[in-house]
């Protein structure tokens, strides 16, 4: 036995890239069961479509189905794009909870030399892919069923690509902040990530124009990159047909893009520090081993 082990190649130490790739692979193994037709139907079709249909029915009950109004496209696209917030921001929290309480691998994981920050980021990749597929399906459904005014010719692809890259990085950073906090909390009905995703739903103006929020609450939405990301993504997708609402009426695309970039970078730095702090705190309090049940 010992001789056999001696013949094994020398162990290569983990670095951030290898950690990220391994975690992405692991996440894929865990999430990839969505390739099963039933699970694909649940996660990529049933949940997102049901979620957007709630808004469609609410809208139709009041407006008698006038889906050609600009507010309809605003609500629909905001909700569709919001799928990524749920997947990425909540995803990282659930990774922490499931590693700790379902698979019970936290102890083993965090006693290896892996970089936990990149591990969590890697685990989020699979969820992001699932989210992107849902987003495409939901938007496609909107175009076909409700004639959303999106056409491949009029989409501002450059703006869309840059916005999406920055948006996803900012969501991943926010996810890490939430994942870090999750390390120090019990398993609740939802996770901290779910919680913040829920809060952002309100403050980022995902499904209604921010102008409706009382003026004292509006600044909360304005500090999150997600708010600018949603606005820019809508503008890019709807192209010249985009009709804006009061809050961002005076902002050009490049102006919004600059704000998104700066806010994303700030959040990224904050997430690294939060993770380090939470990791040390969880070690101090023994929260790595926590299992909640009641």
């Amino acid at each position: 036995m010992y001789q056999t082990m001696m013949n094994l190649p020398l162990v290569r130490r983990a670095n951030w890239l290898r950690t990220f790739l391994n975690a992405a692979w692991l996440g894929w193994q865990i999430e990839s069961n969505w390739a099963d037709p039933f699970l694909f139907a649940v996660y990529s079709i049933a949940r997102p479509i049901a979620s957007v249909l709630i808004l469609v029915v609410m809208y139709s009950v009041i407006t008698n189905g006038a889906t050609d109004q600009p507010i309809f496209a605003y609500i629909y696209l905001g909700n569709a794009l919001y799928i990524l917030v749920g997947q990425v921001v909540s995803g990282v929290s659930w990774t922490v909870i499931s590693d700790r309480e379902q698979y019970r691998t936290v102890r083993q994981l965090y006693t290896t030399p892996l970089d936990g920050y990149f591990y969590l980021m890697g685990r989020g990749v699979a969820r992001l892919l699932v989210g992107i597929i849902s987003l495409v399906i939901t938007v496609g459904f909107g175009v076909l069923a409700f004639q959303l005014p999106i056409s491949l010719q009029t989409v501002d692809w450059l703006l869309f690509t840059v916005t999406m890259v920055l948006g996803i990085i900012s969501l991943a950073a926010l996810g890490h902040v939430m994942g870090s906090i999750t390390m120090m909390t019990a398993r609740q009905i939802g996770s901290v990530g779910d919680a913040v995703a829920g809060a952002l739903y309100l403050f980022s103006g995902a499904i209604f124009p921010l102008d409706l929020l009382p003026s004292v609450l509006r600044p909360i939405g304005l500090i999150f990159p997600a708010t600018y990301w949603l606005e820019l993504a809508r503008r890019a997708l709807l192209g010249p047909g985009y009709v804006g609402f009061e809050t961002f009426a005076g902002f050009s695309n490049s102006h919004l893009l600059l704000i998104l970039l700066v806010a994303t970078l700030l959040l990224l730095v904050a997430s690294i520090y939060t993770y380090r702090w939470a990791f040390n705190r969880a070690r101090e309090t023994g929260f790595f081993d926590m299992e909640t049940n009641f």
Binding site: F38, L39, R47, S51, F208, N293
Partner: protein, 280 residues
Amino acid sequence: MMQLQPVERQTGWRLFWNTIWARAYPRLIGTFRERSWFFFEALLPVLSTVSYIYVYQAINAPEDYIGFVVIGGSMAAFWLNVLWSMGSQLYWDKDDGNLQLFVLSPAPLMAILLGMAIGGVIMTLSRALVIFVVCSLLFQVEYQTGSLWLLVIVFVVTMAALYGMGMMFSSVFLAAGREVWHFANLLQEPIYLVSGFMFPVKALGFWVASAASLIPLTLGLDAMRQLLFTSDPTIGFLPVGVEILILCVLAVFFIAGAAWMLAKLEEIGRRDGRLIERRR
């Protein structure tokens, strides 16, 4: 060793009754011991409920629709509790090794499930009340309180049917194993949609609303809205009396179904040796 006296054991209905409260206890005490629920399960649902209210405001909906969302948002707490703390609870219990101890004790499994349910209703009532009160105050929703007793009856039978369904889910989800997540996920947003959490279910048309009535919250919500708001009496799907009657039938059906499935589950578990024991 200190001499231990032999004990008298309760059996029958007394054992059943005491088991219910013994199992409800961890849920009730959890409310006081782990206070983070207030943030996660009360304040945050307030935020998502408020989002839907703003959607109605953005499209200039009549005032009552804000109240509809408040009721739907509050009752959603019960649906989440049924899915995640009833449906998947036996699965967690199996995973922790509790289920096999429950099974080999003389306590009836049905009493354990009822304990989970009663603990769950009381625990969730606190969440639902916070959502209801905060949202109602924020948006100054006006309710009519003429049929308070009828409202209480609707709530009680809705809870009986809903948690009966949750008890049945417990067995189904346990049999499904790790797939439990997927079932619960499948039933979250789609049920918010078809049960009319954010709008009167009548808007979905007779057939969809009828099919959705299998979920007790559909008729429960519809009846509560009819009793609490007066401005538009045509919003109701069925007359409140009929809805109460159907909810009673559903309660009996789900609770009896849960008892049957639980017995079946134990039988399969003992035969296959897998369902009730902890394995990894």
